[in-house]
Amino acid sequence: MLSYLVRRLLYSIPILIGVSLLTFVLFYRSSTPEQIARRNLSAKNPSHEQILQWEKQHGYDKPLPEQFAKHMRELMLLQFGKSDSLGGEDIWTRIKVAGPVSFQIASLVFFSGLIAAICFALAVAYFRGTYIDYAGTFLCVLLMSVVYVVYIIAGQFILGKVLKYYPLAGYRFGWDSFRFAILPTIVGLISGLGASVRLYRTFLLEEMNLDYIRTARAKGVSERRILFQHVLKNASIPILTNVVQVIPALFLGSLLLESFFSIPGLGGWTADAILNKDFAVVRAMVFLGTLVTIIGYTLTDISYALVDPRVRLEGGKLGAFEISVIVLAPIAGLLYLVRDWPIVRGTGALIAGLFGALDHLWNAGIAGPIGGFWSGHVAGPLGWFWSHYSTPIGNLIPFVIVVVLVTAVVRSGREPLWAEAYRRLRSNPIAMGSLTIICLYGLVAMLDSVSWQDSRTARPETALDRIFKRVSEERTYSAPEAAISFGEPHPQPLKGRHIMGTDGNGQDVLVQTLKGCRTAIIIGGLTTLIVTPVALFMGMIAGYFGKRIDDAVQYLYTVVSSIPDILLLISLLLVFGRSLYMICIALSFTSWVGLCRLIRGETLKHRDREYVRAARALGVGPFRIMSRHILPNLLPTVIISATLGFSGLVLSETILTYLGIGVEAGIGSWGYMIDAARMELARDPIIWWNLAGATTALFLLVLAFNVFGDTLRDAIDPRLRT
């Protein structure tokens, strides 16, 4: 145990360095110090001299490696310094005030959410196949499809206008704070419930079908005992694995919760810092977030050992790395203590000089020529290519997705395991129904991806546009089937009728909803297509080979997952620009981690099962074992994760739109429609049709994916065969 903890502690150092390096690089790619200075100087038009002075004052004038070294040193010593923004408040002071507030809300949301999700998951898993299960699935998907903002507005409406129990917003320190925390907690709990219940249900079902449960039942163990002592205890490993992933997000509080309920926590502050390019705050928050995550992982491992007697925490023998760190750390500490001695100072100056020379070398010898080559020979042509062909390439994507799916189905259909599964699926009307719905969405997306121009000067129109060409465009909002416009001081007669009304720009909501399909399918589909193979590969090699490969993969995903998703997404999109495809790539970057962790864990479980050992004994190669033996056993988990992930991805578009970094204007997207609801729902009389259109479309798609995923999972699970 002790050696395990020592090892953990040691490994946290490279992780912290990796995270800081990643933030540092991302930040410098997304904005120059001059921009940061301009942003944070109060003067309307700061002079060049003011900017230089500011950069000097905040240490942005030094060579990059030196800046990074300073940055690392300060972070490790928890010297966060002052915020870059106007007034330059002390970051640590602020954390001391805002941290506990965020922690209170986050832990309330976290624990109440965990308990509620497990209770519900137990209920739906236990009553599998009954009306409770179906109603549960329906409810969960509904909970998932409705976006955060709607819960917040509904929560404020119900508690504020109907029940009047708690304050709508604000915060007071001390015991009174719980009065202010209840509403955010309820909202946070409900909005996260759907996805967790769906996931935990899978984990529980997995356990419930195992032989020992049947044995226990046969022996007459009470249902309560089976459920709580056997199933729940054994399912808690995957649940715990999953729970840890939420920790960084929790630590930063919820950006939306804090801004809507005006809670003075870290979430709102960090989000502001990101948008205002306040690097000093961002780096401190990322660093702390990483620390908390590492502690979270360690605690998870310890709790693994507590719930599962098979798991032993062993550090093993210390390797060269550990020993070198143990030796070097006190020396570094000592050096720091005597940093004012002339000899140390001289060496420091020498090192700084070295850094300066390195930086110069980098700029003149490497970055300059490479940068020149990049912008001249690569970026230019690439940009030209992209600006000319991005639309056709984008239009290909729905087709690619369909082709990949069809190929996968046809190819796997030849294998006996899958052939049987398809036979069972075909006879299941619910599965076929949901498949049809998915296909319909795909069809609409494809229709919206085929476009042509009538003449050289005309704008290209897609097939979908042409189908709905006769739908008239109005001035502004109008209610479904209304005859006059809505929301204007002087309502005007409409040109035509609209089944689902029109939005603020007078566009037909039904058409807009259909046009959103393409974006949703591309974001969900492309990202899943990128994420799944990457996560499968990484997770399986990590789980199967263990040792250094496992360390490397774990290192990689710990680094990525320790940075709050939103920060990572914003930085990536600021760096790479924000087109639909960049959003997909950025989302892949953040979402492979969850799947990878899950697959690694599952692979670990299967690695030592008898059938794998037998295969190994027979001399089957590792990659063949992975693809032939382990992969089929992982598929149910992968499918469920992918379906849940798909809906999560489509939903995250909404959050990005809220942050102002969604898809470009002019592309139909449910994210925009739902984001507009922020204003529309707060209007009185309420404008519901725009939100209703997008949410219904989203709900149907997510429901279809979930139901299909469930039935498919049942179909390919050999244990459920009759």
């Binding site: 942003r39 002079s47 007034g87 002071t93 029940l163 163990v221 249902e223 000067t457 001081p489 102002g660």
Partner: protein, 709 residues
């Protein structure tokens, strides 16, 4: 691993289960009771609403509370109550706005004065101006530990000059320093000397204590009267009538050097405690003082006992008496004892709190417009029943689109490009924009100067701002510019206008679609690029745009503050000025130099008309809106009258606190039955499930085999 149970199923089951249910239920009730009973949705400490406290919402943290730096509305709202100035705007009078004495004892005396200026190495004598200011006697700063004994000391003329020097200090980023830098004698010199001094000190001893700005040095333009500590003079090298208005801004408030020494950010070491910095700990002499500031949550202000005797105005405009605005005439200010600013970012939240009675004021926006107003522009019956007051506020501002005059296709002075700009200007239907985006509120702008200011002409119609649905003239101009039907003959495809904007919010997206649709009617393509504010400012400052949209709110009610937005030497790209369009027309600049120093009169008006004609033909801007907003006040708020320029108005407001406490209690009675019904429903839903559990526990092995899985 697997545990076995020796208990046989089915026996002795019912009784313990019932017990357990009761136990669980009682536990749940025990947990829920304190959560539900005695709960109140009052966000304030008990009883506070019954005290004369004003509740206001800020939609964001103030950027800073330092009066030499603050330049945003949220900051101004807070610190203008803390930092009074020499002159202030009369609370009730409008058209024109009237400046009255604040801290000043006499109106500033402005006289022509010969000054010695060094130009190109030679000393020449120019006609400048000398302004003499005399302040009231017996004014005191607020009590603060920075003063000896903690008691605020008397304010003298030197405190005013100190604040001018601080604006010029190299380590204080004053946003309006450029207004003074080339005018007050020796100020720029003093700044340069200090910059050099600080730099040298840093070079000599990089780790030593920070060098301080030499505030004791004499500046020829800022003079104290040796015989009278209450008089100071300002020497300008050119006439500058706008100085009068600047003396009514918080930048020129008297500052205590003790406070800056102790709290000033520029003097503090790295380890200074955060809550004691000048940017969060203002030390002023105004009607209120800040007692608590928690970011993202609240700012508390209480009445300053050291505030000078000031009384509610006894005269106003016609109609003010009828509206009850003179009921408190002659009473000592401030009328309320404290102010609580709640920092709430989401307008939905703050409006809901307003409807509950926990906020005293609210704005009317697109969101609540239909709930609050009727078609005829009156309060809706629902709101009338709540006794709300409705106040119309005409903003002194302008919203506009602008071309970049450095752009090869759309900018420049060539006839061809000018016609292109005129065509685009004609395609924008600002009436439609105002109807759809501003609920029909606001003035369809024709020129830069806002209504209510000298030089605004309600009868003027800009020929290129007259929208005609047939777009006949616009299309003709477009063809004359060489782009028939929007087709660029060089490429054979449509000309694309790249539009940089800030439209990332839902409302912004509506504006985005609307403007694109309007311009595209001409046949042009519009490529809209929304930015976050940070990136957007960078782009405008460095002139990286073709077409953009922006707004300007007046610093003071003088047309100069609007027309200088197109003054050549104010170019953003070249001189860091506010002229983002990079427009430079020598004729316009000459006229500006003339009108800037004139007094209001027919001559000044004539020049403004000439400038207008130039801007109209060049069509650099497409002005579209002078805003107009509505504000709502609760029935217990008294003396509210919106002032578009002055922000130090809260000292005049009053609240009927007992009425507020009574109505709050009446409007916020908790409603328990929905929760009771919910609990009941859950209980009913649990019953059949419990039945299934029982059945499964009791089932026999044989029956299970018969019934399948």
């Amino acid at each position: 691993m697997v545990s076995t149970s020796t208990r046989r199923p089915g026996r002795g089951f019912a009784a313990p289960r019932a017990c357990r249910l009761v136990r669980i239920a009682s536990c749940a009730i025990a947990l829920l009771l304190p959560a539900v009973s005695g709960c109140s949705n009052d966000p304030y400490p008990a009883g506070e609403s019954a005290t004369p406290t004003l509740y206001r919402v800020l939609s964001d943290n103030p950027k800073t509370l330092d009066p030499s730096i603050a330049y945003d509305v949220a900051s101004g709202t807070v610190i203008d109550t803390v930092y009074p100035s020499y002159l202030q705007y009369h609370y009730l009078k409008r058209d024109p706005f009237v400046l009255e004495l604040g801290l000043g004892a006499a109106d500033p005396k402005r006289e022509k004065w010969p000054v010695q200026v060094t130009e190109k190495g030679k000393t020449v004598t120019k006609t400048g101006e000398r302004w003499t200011f005399t302040i009231k006697k017996g004014l005191h700063f607020q009590d603060d530990p920075c003063f000896p004994g903690g008691r605020g000391r008397e304010i003298v003329a030197a405190d005013f000059l100190f604040s001018f020097k601080r604006m010029a200090a190299p380590n204080v980023a004053c946003p309006i320093f450029s207004f003074f830098s080339d005018k007050i004698l020796g100020l720029q010199n003093w700044r340069d000397e200090n910059t050099a001094r600080l730099k040298e000190a840093k070079k000599r001893n990089p780790n030593g204590p920070k060098a301080r700005v030499d505030y004791a040095a004499d500046i020829p333009g800022l003079q104290l009267d040796p015989s009278d500590p209450y008089t100071f003079r300002i020497l300008l090298n050119q006439p500058y009538p706008q100085l009068r208005y600047l003396m009514a801004m918080h930048f020129t408030t008297p500052l205590a050097h003790e406070a800056v020494d102790r709290y000033g950010d520029e003097n503090l070491g790295k380890d200074a405690p955060d809550d004691q910095k000048f940017s969060v700990h203002p030390v002023g002499s105004g009607s209120f003082k800040v007692t608590e500031y928690i970011k993202n949550l609240r700012i508390m202000l209480v009445a300053n006992p050291n505030y000078r005797p000031e009384f509610y105005p006894t005269e106003g405009q016609p109609g003010d008496r009828e509206n009850g605005l003179l009921a408190d005439a002659g009473k000592r200010l401030p009328l309320v004892k404290s102010i609580r600013f709640n920092i709430i970012r989401e307008s939905i939240t703050s409006f809901n709190e307003f409807l509950q009675g926990y906020e005293d004021l609210a704005g009317v926006s697109q969101q609540n417009f239909q709930q609050v107003m009727t078609v005829s522009g009156r309060l809706s019956p629902e709101m009338q029943a709540r006794g709300l007051g409705l106040h119309r506020d005409k903003g002194v501002d302008i919203s506009y689109f602008s071309f970049n005059m450095d752009d090869p296709t759309f900018g420049g002075t060539s006839e061809k490009n000018r016609k292109l700009r005129q065509a685009i200007s004609l395609s924008i239907d600002s009436r439609e924009m105002i109807d759809l985006l501003e609920q029909g509120l606001g003035v369809d702008a024709q020129f830069m100067v806002a209504p209510g200011l000298f030089g605004y002409d309600p009868n003027y119609k800009n020929p290129y701002r007259q929208f005609d649905p047939s777009l006949k003239q616009a299309k003709q101009l477009l063809a004359e510019a060489g782009y028939p039907d929007g087709i660029d003959p060089k490429t054979g495809s449509r000309l694309t206008l790249i539009w940089e904007n800030l439209n990332t919010t839902p409302l912004g997206k509506q504006e985005d679609a609307l403007v694109r649709r309007q311009i595209q009617r001409l046949g042009l393509n519009v490529d809209s690029r929304p930015h976050l504010f940070a990136d957007y400012e960078d782009r405008l400052d460095s002139g990286q745009f073709t077409f953009m949209s922006f707004g300007w709110v007046a610093d003071y009610p003088d047309p100069e503050n609007f027309v200088f937005l197109l003054y050549g030497p104010n170019s953003a790209k070249r001189n860091n000025g506010p002229n983002y369009s990079n427009y430079a027309n020598p004729e316009y600049d000459k006229l500006f130099d003339q009108m800037r120093i004139m007094d209001d009169g027919p001559e000044r008006k004539a020049i403004i008309v000439k400038m207008r004609a130039i801007v109209e033909q060049d069509c650099v801007w497409i002005p579209w809106l002078h805003s107009e907003t509505f504000a709502l006040t609760q029935q217990w708020v008294k003396n509210y009258k919106p002032h578009p320029v002055a922000m130090d108005t809260m000292k005049y407001w009053n609240v009927d606190a007992p009425l507020r406490a009574r109505l709050q209690a009446q409007w916020n009675r908790p409603n328990y039955w929905p929760v009771a019904i919910l609990v009941l429903l859950i209980a009913i839903a649990i019953v059949p499930a419990a039945g299934v559990v029982q059945a499964r526990t009791n089932r026999r092995v044989r029956r299970q085999q018969e019934g399948g899985r």
